[in-house]
Symmetry: C2
């Protein structure tokens, strides 16, 4: 391949060996090799290095590079692999790479993709670029992409591929196989189920491809088909993920309002959705808006400041509660020392209840059928935890301050605040979900604000009554 | 079906209609119907109600019932559906149901399952029950289950199914299809790829079943096979999930230390792993050990107390810092009012950095190749956010207290604490991950403990210097 074949790193096999670590992640040393080649402007070496990678790893690699290096590397991605790499890239990076490509090359690459992946790429193009690319594509492909984009974002319609393998139920296994062999180009790149449709093109069953393979040629599809779970074209992606997971689906037919087959969803798209939804939940609980891996400092800062500002406002509310008791604190400074303990433990317990509840809502383990039982259980857990930990803290506080009444006050305040934490931890996401909001977003800030507020109020209030 | 057919609810179709809500979750009203029938001990009605549900929904239903109702309902699950329901149940519920079944019936149900699902069920049996069930199974099925259980938990070996469809590369498409038709009973229930193996039974490629179908009978497998991603039998389930997700795999061959094909993993198992790993991460970040949906109050309490206790200890550490400045607070009570603001904003910002870092580690977007850049970026974001919010707080504090020096002190303390928050938010999970610990576990407690500690120390320390 290369004229310096004596160095093992120049062999394609050795490069492939080096590319991935044992845990299948891209090897940092390999990234270094790419960076070096990019710095030297060594295009041949770049082509060699990129050629040894799976498209998904090329996409990963792009994520690890700086903008400047990406601009150096992008032109050396082989055009036939570009189609597979584009859908894998993070949105921001994809936009960057798309800007570097001539519309003609892009139009060609997109024709290699199934309609859902092609639409996802086109979606990211700027208006003028999109027009040029679509104009350079054949009529059929263009129409498929335009139809895809007509569906709302994050719905089954947008995510599905329009290519499906459908057959009438009176067909035999042999007829079906012959049809597949002769209509190769109209079929999806990969398919896992053959959808059996009635004359109105409504799905009535599905035959897994492996079952078709193992059945004798003269058997009718209607004899071997199984019931299908259909997905409405306007179903939200979260619903799609839930159905796939629950029924262990590999693919599912998508139907329009009239019940007619219009496309299919496959499990690999759904894995992406599941990860995306999980990411959203975990970030929302921490009060972070997703700024993307490659976001610049200013963008990240802007994505986090809103929640910090809300937190600042709620912290001021807590401070206001404390200020009501300035006189008490002046007389017993020990209270200032102890009060953050009451609020901290409340915030912690509230976050525990909150997270468990958000998770149970996401997996639909928590519904109207068991919400009251769940609430009761969390309250009981809060009480139990309070009774276990608060006396301990009471003793420590009494000994340290030399005043048993301070011990009693902090003990009572902790138990009460843990009960508040449990209530607000369950009720906040339940209420948001009932009102059709995402139960994860803004829950955490509200829960800790509440436990801070009541933590200070109860502790300092009780102290004022008992000590003064 | 029933002699009260006049009531629409007795029709199977009407029952199916009622079973699920629009979002595909089990309808609470349906759960009520089951509870009513169980209370009346109406077995025929229970059989009818269960019969209208998909096995996955029966499993869901069991999760919504109390122990007593479960014991009433379990005997009415049709034996042929039991096999499919058992792997779907939560661990605790499965153990309960297994206890209710005679070993003979269980052995029969298990033979319906692929080896991975059967092993997962057997794993949950108590020692004596396991012996009886295995003894009641045919030799071949028993051996497969025992081999499965010999692999470590959460590895590819334990998760894989031993049944695969393998073929030598010199076979033609026609030969392969004929083989599948004649060896039906040795093959997995469903398969998506045919693994092409060399004479030593090492995988050299794979042919998706749909490609086999669309190719002419006389073409050789070696001409249409594509490269495969092999998974080592001892690979951890997290690695398995990562590989499937990255390369959009539907199935993958599992190989032993000698490189020989020993089984396969399919994407539906992987979806479960992904959800499990995500669940672990999200709960770990909130300091919750997973106690399972059906855990009793005492069990849940026990699972949460350890982290609350750690939190209590770290809160006491924060209190100790405050106690060092009792003299200062006595003189300027306003400091007691303001100090929780400094610690709260630090804890919040630290949790943001932490969550983003944990997530990036989980998706391997963060590796040694970009850890320094990520760290620098978080510090810059912390500084920027500090510069945006701290002056605001400074003005509010100065106006409220009537002392501009207090405004300056809180402004400086907030900026410094946000820098500490960013550092500890990134470094904690990075360090844990470098030491091969789960980066999510215990990170949050450590981060907020640090921001509390330094928040109080910096604010009160600066105040002592500036004000006294």
């Amino acid at each position: 391949m290369s004229d310096t074949a004596a160095q093992p790193l120049d062999h394609a096999a050795a490069l492939e060996e080096l590319a991935l670590r044992d845990d299948y992640a891209l090897n940092p040393e390999y990234v270094e090799l790419v960076v070096d080649a990019a710095d030297r402007g060594d295009g041949l070496r770049l082509r060699e290095l990129l050629g040894a990678l799976h498209p998904a790893d090329v996409a990963d690699l792009m994520g690890f590079l700086s903008s400047e290096h990406r601009a150096e590397v992008a032109p050396w991605i082989p055009l036939d692999e570009l189609a597979e790499i584009l859908p894998e890239l993070d949105d921001r990076i994809r936009e960057e790479v798309l800007d570097l490509l001539p519309p003609g090359a892009l139009a060609e690459a997109l024709q290699e993709l199934d309609s859902d992946d092609a639409a996802a790429v086109v979606e990211d193009l700027e208006e003028h670029q999109r027009r040029e690319v679509l104009a350079a594509m054949p009529e059929g492909d263009r129409a498929a992409i335009e139809k895809s984009l007509a569906y709302e974002e994050d719905t089954a319609g947008r995510l599905m591929q329009r290519e499906v393998m459908a057959a009438p139920q009176f067909w035999s296994v042999g007829q079906t196989i012959d049809h597949v062999r002769s209509h190769d180009e109209d079929l999806p790149e990969l398919f896992f189920d053959i959808y059996v449709v009635d004359p109105a093109y409504k799905p009535v069953g599905a035959v897994p491809v492996s079952r078709l393979l193992r059945t004798k040629r003269d058997v009718k599809l209607s004899e071997i088909m199984e019931p299908v779970t259909e997905i409405a074209v306007d179903a939200d992606q979260e619903e799609v993920a839930y159905v796939f997971e629950k029924y262990h689906l590999i693919s599912a037919p998508v139907i329009d309002a009239g019940g007619r087959l219009v496309g299919q969803l496959t499990v690999d798209d759904v894995v992406n959705i599941i990860q995306e939804e999980n990411r959203e939940d975990i970030l929302a609980l921490a009060g972070v808006t997703d700024a993307g891996r490659d976001a610049k400092v200013l963008g990240i800062s802007r994505s986090r400041i809103p929640w910090l500002a809300v937190n600042l406002a709620t912290a001021m509310l807590g401070a206001w509660v404390i200020s009501l008791f300035e006189g008490t604190i002046q007389k017993v400074v020990a209270l200032a020392v102890l009060m953050p303990i009451v609020s901290a433990i409340g915030g912690n317990a509230g976050t525990q209840s909150l997270t468990v509840t958000v998770r149970a809502l996401a997996t639909r383990e928590l519904t109207a059928a068991n919400s009251i039982r769940t609430f009761g259980r969390e309250i009981a857990v809060g009480l139990l935890n309070g009774l276990a930990l608060a006396p301990l803290m009471g003793v420590v506080a009494a000994v340290w301050s030399g005043d048993y009444r301070i011990g009693l006050v902090i003990c009572a305040a902790m138990v009460l605040n843990l009960l508040i934490a449990a209530s607000v931890g369950v009720l906040t996401p339940l209420t948001l979900s009932r009102l059709k909001f995402d139960p994860a977003v803004s829950s955490a800030v509200f829960v800790t604000a509440t436990t801070d507020f009541f933590g200070f109020l109860i502790f300092l209030g009780l102290a004022t009554i008992v000590l003064l």
